[in-house]
Symmetry: C2
Subunit: 200 residues, 2 copies
């Protein structure tokens, strides 16, 4: 940027611009907005960033995000620990929970297999899932990966690994609009998809 701008402001604009879906104009608008806020509010924001990053890690069992050793769902004894719903992202757990229909537990892969993007099975939380299923207490694994090429491929790949372990592998029914993102599906569609799940 040119000399009429100030370094700490340019730096802040630059930081905002690195976030996904934030262009230069939006980054400018956000940075100028920050300067209008009281210093205490800006500190709260900065602390929220650092605290979230520092305290949040993967649940030892399901790989969902948590600030404890086990996430609230895995440590809830009322949940059916013999059914695992496999999702791509932590936000998909939030979407599934909104249906209030599912009483089992989850497993978060943190992505889907995508050779084009260089994401192989080793980049995902797959060995953790196999370890959980391998201990013999799991009856059913429900694939709830996104209805995209990558999500489908991941579900098929996992079912081939899981079926020899003697576990039932099912898939969410096509109530989900194909090509959409699971996060943005409404509760009713998601609930229908859960009810009508089929063998994979």
């Amino acid at each position: 940027m040119s000399s009429y701008n100030v370094a700490p402001l340019d730096n802040l604009i630059d930081q905002f611009e690195r976030l996904p879906n934030i262009g230069h104009k939006s980054a400018q608008r956000l940075a100028y907005h920050i300067l209008t806020l009281p210093e205490s509010t800006v500190k709260e924001f900065a602390n929220a960033l650092i605290n979230a990053k520092k305290s949040i890690h993967f649940c030892k069992s399901c790989c969902n995000l948590t600030d404890k050793e086990y996430c609230p769902i895995c440590s809830n004894s009322k949940r059916d620990a013999s059914t695992i719903c496999v999702v791509e992202r932590p936000r998909d757990v939030v979407a599934m929970e909104r249906t209030q229909e599912y009483t089992g537990v989850y497993h978060v892969l943190h992505g889907a297999i995508s050779p084009l993007m260089g994401i192989g099975p080793d980049s995902l939380c797959i060995k953790e899932l196999l370890a959980r299923v391998g201990n013999g207490e799991i009856k059913e694994v429900i694939m709830a990966t996104n209805p995209t090429v990558e999500g489908e491929a991941t579900a098929v790949y996992l079912s081939k690994l899981l079926k020899p372990l003697g576990v039932k592998v099912t898939h969410l029914a096509y109530g989900i609009p194909v090509g959409a993102d699971l996060t943005y599906a409404d509760e009713i569609t998601l609930a229908r998809a859960l009810e009508g799940r089929t063998d994979l």
Copy 2:
């Protein structure tokens, strides 16, 4: 948010959601993105926020944002200090500078008069402008407030205060934006362009 979410994450989502034009879904996406970044990158972002807020204040002369006592434009002896261009926002200075046509200095009001929004002349950097013009070294003040009801009202209000001080007060020309299609120009802009027509 429900129990399956974690407090530091909820807090971060909440912080992002307070920013202008960031809804809940975008805030979620940004927060999850932050968790995928290395801790050092998150710290840089947090520091950029705090540093910008701490070190940036108004230029003693023109009220533009700066981390020094005077902004780079006011402290540049090559600029014509007898011409002041009055703008609403710091980003308008950036826009004017991009023209590379203007050699004078600026004055940033930090808003426009808007009785509906509770913004009166006292909320803006107007007394600083009057003080600058009052010292007698200013020959011309160019109004470059936005072509909105509020911007226009502010320009008229200021010209009434400035003219008695014996200074020339001008206004940016209205007309058709260069490169635009006449068909899509609104009536008011076209009427103004016609009024302000110049010899060819």
